[in-house]
Amino acid sequence: MDALRKRIVEDLGEADANYLRNVVDKQRKLELLGRGLLAVGIFPPAFVAGVGALALSKIIDNMEIGHNVMHGQYDWMRDEALNSLVFEWDTVCPSENWKHSHNYMHHTYTNIVGKDRDVGYGILRMSEAQKWNLYYLGNPLYAVALATFFQWGVMLHDMEVEKLVTGEKRWADTSEVRKKIVRKSMKQVGKDYVLFPLLSGPFAPITLAGNASANLIRNLWTFSIIFCGHFPDGVATFTEEEAEQESRGQWYLRQLLGSANITGSPLFHVLTGNLSHQIEHHLFPDIPARRYAEMSATVKDACERYGLPYNTGGLSAQLGSVAKKIIKLALPWTGRGDDKTPTAAATPQAA
């Protein structure tokens, strides 16, 4: 894995930089197109096309640009506008809070129940290792709500609300996080639900509806892709003891066993921010995501040689698998005994 990493890092250069600048260019054109069409959204075809363009713009901004830039994948370009230290994305979640909960907590402690708060986001029961209680009967309902309001869920993630409920964390401890949330979400709401509608004059309600629809589509899409990354059947979770004192090889192995890919066309991969290559992303989170496809061949080959699972499937199959798990884990009799997932016991020779 380290050798593969080195080979790709040495090859990074102009093509990767041009690719990202090209994606940014396409995204901003889609955004302007979407805003323009929604201003005249009184004509139904313009409304539909406008929602589509704006939703695509937001999806590309959040996934292929935002997520990846904030991982530091393109820091080597030294472009202030595309640097992990300063980049902000088109969602209500402040980048700084997200970098803490995602880049650090989730990518370091991937799928360790009790440490990686992306396991269920503190709301859902996504692993048998999470103890069932009456609250989890609503698992499917919470999932639908989270999908609908996903950007707000992501925004609240770093507040660690579940720790506030249990008293592990005090309300005052969240003041820094809260301040950033308020500042960022006001700006986003101001843009999508006040200023652009006002600019449309008499058609303000139509523009508002269009912007809300674009945000909703982006929410459903990003929720789907992200939940397919770690929760399909066959993806492992780990205990804190299993991950203690792990070597770099074992860390690689946990990333591999804890992630799942989605198959699809090149355009599909772009729209997922290449998170359809979740396995490669977790092995190499700071390498430009456009390289994951070429890296996957080597990773897959290593999995075959060492008899390790390489979890992949089409979007509908993976989504179906996630949905089944969400419903199943709502029920009290699903516990540790039902566990068919591989554990981290395999020796990490591959790395």
Binding site: G13, L32, L85, W89, Y104
Partner: protein, 372 residues
């Protein structure tokens, strides 16, 4: 009635700019403005290269038309000049060489080709008119006082000619009547950029004394030879003690000049600007040398060879960090001097201004300074 120096910002600036920012959030409006014209920006200075020509065998001179955000400069100041080379943004400091009074507002830069200069090499072989560059506002206090002093002595060596060329041009343009001595050192006569212009300026202005010195060939066209020395100065510029003096060039020239002025208690009349020697790439394997300094906290210690994050913590600093294994970028900070090596990639970063991940970066080959 006197006109105000800065016209009051119009309605467009007062209402339009904040509105644009609100609409473009979370991105900068520049991201959209540059779709219409790549030099458009609300605040950044960007410019377009209007001409490129060779001013000496190893020197290239380019002119840049800055956008309206440019607030002007004083002769002798420099800018940080940024352009994209092979996908990566690269920045270098260059002095402006044009006159403060240049009529069409073009900024001129002259860049000497370094032995393996990435940016200067690109400027020499690939820069074409029409290229868009980013520049900062003018910086530095290596400038002429206002009102102008009675006598000016400009000493330069090699590419150190650039800021003093701007001073000479500015003084000539504004009809300065005091005495100006332009003392310039190069290895060979053909290395002097602006050679023809210097000859012309000296011919047109009686108060300009031109002394071009070749240190590596027998050429006394201005009647002066050899390296800088007190005797040489005494002989050719007898009034040097009364002049407001400027020196720009290699470390050696600057040190020699400084020493002489110090000897005569004339330091208050001298301003000096020294060229940084090119960063030496010497990551000697395993050898742990140098000092690690953290500039914001003012702490420093001998390099222990450990990652910079650990060295900072050992000094009692508490920089933000996350994974401590190079994946989360929480501990990224600006390195302002020295060479460092990334532990995973082995990549050595020599540029003076670079963002590095403290947890997986170690100092190599000498002193390192981090903005922390």
């Amino acid at each position: 009635m006197p006109t105000p120096a800065n016209p009051r910002p119009g309605l467009l600036a007062k209402v339009g700019v904040p509105l644009l920012e609100r609409l473009a959030t979370p991105h900068s409006p520049d991201r959209y403005l540059e779709m219409i014209n790549p030099t458009w920006s609300l605040r950044e200075v960007r410019g377009v290269v209007t001409s490129v020509h060779r001013s000496a065998p190893e020197s290239i001179t380019l002119q840049v038309q800055p956008n309206s955000n440019w607030r002007g400069f004083q002769a002798g100041q420099h800018v940080v000049f940024t352009l994209i080379i092979a996908g990566v943004r690269r920045s270098r400091c260059y002095s402006v060489t044009s006159s403060e009074h240049h009529r069409d507002g073009l900024l001129e830069f002259t860049v000497r080709k370094g032995p393996d200069g990435l940016v200067s090499g690109f400027l020499h072989s690939d820069l074409a008119p029409g290229t868009v560059v980013h520049i900062t506002q003018a910086q530095g206090d290596f400038v002429l006082p206002s009102p102008r002093p009675a006598q000016v002595l400009l000493v330069s060596g090699g590419s150190g000619i650039t800021p003093v060329m701007s001073m000479l041009r500015t003084l000539c343009d504004e009809g300065y009547t005091g005495r100006v001595t332009f003392l310039h050192y190069t290895r060979r006569a053909e290395d002097v950029p602006y050679d023809d212009e210097l000859t012309r300026l000296a011919a047109e202005h009686d108060n300009v004394q031109l002394l071009r010195v070749c240190t590596q060939e027998d050429n006394d066209r201005d009647g002066i030879t050899g390296r800088f020395s007190a005797d040489q100065l005494e002989q050719h510029v007898p009034g040097w003690r009364q002049a407001t003096s400027y020196v720009c060039g290699s470390a050696r020239l600057v040190e020699d000049v400084r020493a002489l002025w110090a000897e005569h208690d004339l330091e208050h009349l001298l301003k000096a600007e020294q060229f940084d020697p090119p960063a030496a790439i010497v990551p000697t394997d395993g050898e742990i040398t140098g000092t690690v300094s953290f500039s914001k906290s003012g702490k420093s210690a001998d390099n222990t060879g450990r990652p910079l994050l650990e060295q900072a913590e050992a000094l009692g600093l508490t920089p933000e960090y996350g994974c401590r294994m190079g994946i989360c970028f929480s501990c990224t900070r600006r390195k302002t001097a020295g060479n460092v090596q990334h532990l995973h990639t082995g990549e050595v970063t020599t540029e003076s201004e670079a963002d590095i991940q403290l947890c997986v970066t170690v100092p190599v080959g000498g002193d390192v300074t981090v903005d922390l």
